[in-house]
């Protein structure tokens, strides 16, 4: 682990402790709810960033996969008495499998073509969600009844919004560790080689298809987990929250935040959920955030390819070398 990585890890641990212990004591209930959403989408953004940073592949279907994870979590919530944390892990796992299955036929493509295919998958999911809706406690496979939704469970120790925020933050920390573990072990080395040259990777005996699918499955797992956590946060899910276009926005914000570090995903989550909430609270149109996102994306593409997180980390590096 290089010194910068070590610093970054310590900063991450300190930030997690600070957010889990201190923030709930100083912030109002509104901001705890907003930050819970931001953390959930940071988790999903970390999946998009992983696939883009490690393999250079664009995934615009992450919002759809969040919806898939949420759908599975809701269905299991109403159909079983499984502990919520186990249910979140199962939703993540099954979404990972679904993500990999959708990625399989698309793996021959790269760049714009792959992006378009993932966008079409997102559009397909949007139609699916609108046609079949999210389970609300009804009977049958789809679990939808034309009535008010039954209650969605949260873990016994995370019933209040504050406790649930802490639960989500810990899940986010675990997800970052999982990504870090992958990057520093065999999959990370394989991804790095594939990104350099698929032909060389193949010549070196790396199963390119398997490791690409692994990346998509991990990204899908993160999206599914965030969908399950979102269902617990809101108490229900609505088809209108998983529009195909939102997948483009999440990818763009992951780029703006920075795809090469965990900090980038946090910046993406904050931009996606906190910024519109601030505008809304000030009585301004939340659409102003879209203008800022556009400008930030231009800035990232032109001057900061490693995103805002890259600039922050760069400042630390510079500070360190000055010493």
């Amino acid at each position: 682990m290089d010194p910068l990585q070590k610093t970054s890890t310590w900063i991450g641990v300190a930030l997690l402790a600070l957010t889990v212990l201190i923030l709930p004591m100083v912030l109002g209930a509104l901001w705890i709810k907003v930050l819970t959403s931001a953390a959930i989408f940071a988790l999903a953004a970390s999946g998009v960033a992983l696939v883009y940073a490690q393999l250079g592949l664009i995934n615009l279907a992450q919002i759809a996969l969040i919806g898939v994870g949420g759908w599975i979590a809701l269905r299991l919530n109403y159909a079983t008495d499984l502990p919520v944390t186990l249910l979140v892990i199962i939703a993540g796992g099954l979404t990972g499998v679904i993500g990999a299955l959708f990625a399989l036929p698309a793996l021959r493509m790269r760049g714009l073509y792959l992006a378009l295919v993932t966008l079409m998958v997102a559009a397909l999911a949007q139609i699916f969600f609108n046609a079949f809706q999210f389970p609300n406690g009804g009977e049958g496979f789809w679990g939808v009844a034309q009535k008010s939704a039954d209650a969605v469970r949260r873990p016994g120790f995370a019933q209040s919004d504050t406790a649930y925020f802490r639960y989500v933050m810990i899940a986010l920390g675990v997800a970052f560790m999982l990504i870090g573990l992958h990057k520093s072990s065999a999959p990370g080395r394989a991804w790095a080689m594939i990104r350099q040259s698929e032909a060389n990777a193949m010549a070196a005996g790396i199963n390119v298809t398997f490791f690409k699918l692994w990346a998509f499955a991990l990204s899908g797992f993160l999206a599914g987990t965030s969908g399950a956590l979102l269902a617990g946060a809101l108490g229900q899910l609505d088809a209108r929250s998983f529009l195909a276009g939102e997948g483009i926005l999440l990818f763009a914000l992951a780029v703006v935040g920075g795809v090469f570090s965990w900090l980038g995903a946090i910046v993406a989550g904050l931009l996606y959920k906190l910024l519109p909430a601030i505008f809304n609270d000030l009585g301004l149109s939340a659409d102003i955030a879209m203008i800022i996102f556009g400008a930030a994306l231009m800035h990232a593409i032109m001057t900061a390819p490693e995103g805002i997180a890259g600039q922050i980390m760069g400042a630390f590096k510079k500070g360190g070398s000055d010493d």
């Binding site: 109002g28 209930a29 509104l30 709810k33 907003v34 959403s37 949007q126 139609i127 609108n130 046609a131 809706q133 609300n136 009804g138 939808v144 009844a145 034309q146 009535k147 008010s148 939704a149 209650a151 919004d161 946060a233 809101l234 108490g235 229900q236 899910l237 609505d238 088809a239 209108r240 929250s241 529009l243 959920k273 909430a277 809304n280 609270d281 939340a286």
Partner: protein, 419 residues
């Protein structure tokens, strides 16, 4: 000292007489204590949430409530304390709906919410309201949670009774036998209301079909063609005003006026609808209204007009939901005026609202009540109007509907001595 006392008394008398003159000429609205003196005590925080974004604007309820509260504040407030009315827009977004309700209930500590109108927020926030023991006197409800929650009571009927009321009229007066309910594919909104519409048609030995569309990609042409293909004789527009008008325009382009009997629940009853629809639909569009007609001579309706004229903003909606917001706010204020002004807090307000039983208004067909119950639907009798010459004409005065859905509600009314 004596001189200043005489002057002060004279000034007070003069102001009171001027106030009496304004009231006597019949133009000034009557609100709360109606003292003509602005309330200056410690404000009482009251919340309100509306849903104003495509595909529908449900801000009429909070507009009507806001105007009435302003009027109350200018007329003595709640025994001297003004109402600080905090309104948020959920923008049809469940996440935002949860956030703004949390802000109002937990951060601002409102004693109650009044005038809420939304297709989203009640579903997300019903558990929060119950957990925090805060009552919501809603005014523009359109989803099942509004009527099936312990801490939400809505003054408007919602799509289920209003839609079935429209169908009842269509069956009895227009000879409807096979109806299509066109709504949004939202389980607790279009799905819920259209499901009960189908059950109602079956109970009459008739046919009903649901045509539910994606609210994020409204394709009115295909919906219209689907209704044609279903071979129905009646179309029930279970939609907000915007998409309902869009569908009527599609039908107009295709000469569909005579092909169906056209009925709608209350959202199409809007002052501006005449200008948009033109003469084509005159005498062919029947609408069930959940409160009274806009031009009713009733005291509350006339006062609503005056309140909106005096305290409303130019861009405020003046629709059924605005009437509903006004009367919700009036019932709320009347309940609070019975409390000790110094001891108004959330528990006392929740209790005062739950104690409302049997209050009457010419805007409603039946007495309004809240009570302690796991569901509330005090308003389930409506009126029927026909769209005619750019305006509306009353076709049938107050009438109730007969659906199994009302069984627990009617049992509640019996228990409260309201039957």
């Amino acid at each position: 000292m004596k001189t200043s006392l005489i002057l002060a008394t004279a000034a007070t008398l003069g102001l009171s007489l001027m106030g009496e003159d304004a009231k006597a000429d019949g133009h000034a609205p009557v609100c709360g204590l109606n003292t003509g003196q602005a309330a200056t005590g410690e404000p009482i925080k009251v919340g309100g949430i509306n849903g104003n974004a495509p595909p529908g604007d449900f801000s009429g309820g909070t507009d009507g409530a806001a105007a009435y509260f302003d009027c109350v504040n200018a007329n003595g407030g709640i025994n001297g304390r003004p109402i600080d009315y905090l309104v948020e827009n959920d923008q049809w977004n469940p996440e935002l709906a949860g956030q703004v309700a949390t802000k109002l209930v937990k951060d601002e500590g409102v004693v109650a919410l009044v005038g809420n109108g939304s297709v989203v927020e009640m579903a997300v926030n019903a558990p929060l309201y119950a957990a925090e023991d805060v009552m919501v006197m809603a005014s523009g409800c359109a989803i099942s949670e509004c009527y099936e929650s312990s801490h939400i009571v809505s003054t408007n009927q919602g799509p289920l009774p209003s839609g079935i009321g429209a169908l009842k009229f269509a069956i009895e007066e227009l000879g409807a036998t096979n109806a299509a309910c066109i709504g949004f594919n939202i389980p607790n909104n279009g799905g819920w209301a259209c499901d009960w519409m189908n059950e109602y048609m079956s109970s009459k030995g008739l046919q009903g079909t649901s045509i539910l569309m994606d609210p994020t990609a409204v394709d009115l042409n295909s919906v219209y063609l689907q209704a044609l293909a279903e071979g129905v004789d009646t179309i029930l527009l279970m939609l907000p005003a915007g998409p309902a008008i869009g569908l009527l325009k599609v039908a107009e382009e295709q000469g569909g006026r005579e092909m169906f009997k056209w009925v709608s629940p209350t959202p199409l009853y809007e002052p501006g609808v005449g200008e948009v629809l033109g003469d084509y639909w005159s005498d062919h569009l029947y609408i069930n209204i959940e409160l009274n007609t806009f031009d009713s001579d009733g005291a509350d309706n006339q006062n609503w007009v005056k309140v909106m004229d005096t305290y409303g903003k130019d861009d405020d909606r003046r629709d059924t939901f605005s009437q509903s917001g006004y009367i919700s706010a009036k019932f709320f204020v009347d309940a609070l005026l019975d409390l000790d002004a110094d001891r108004i807090d959330r528990p006392s307000v929740t209790k005062a609202i739950q104690n409302i039983v049997g209050v009457e208004s010419d805007l409603l067909c039946d007495p309004y009540y809240v009570g302690v119950a796991d569901r509330h639907m005090p308003n389930h009798s409506g009126r029927m109007v026909v769209f005619k010459d750019g305006g509306f004409e009353l076709m049938r005065d107050c009438y109730d509907i007969d659906t199994n859905y009302l069984e627990p509600i009617l049992a509640q009314e019996t228990a409260l001595g309201l039957d």
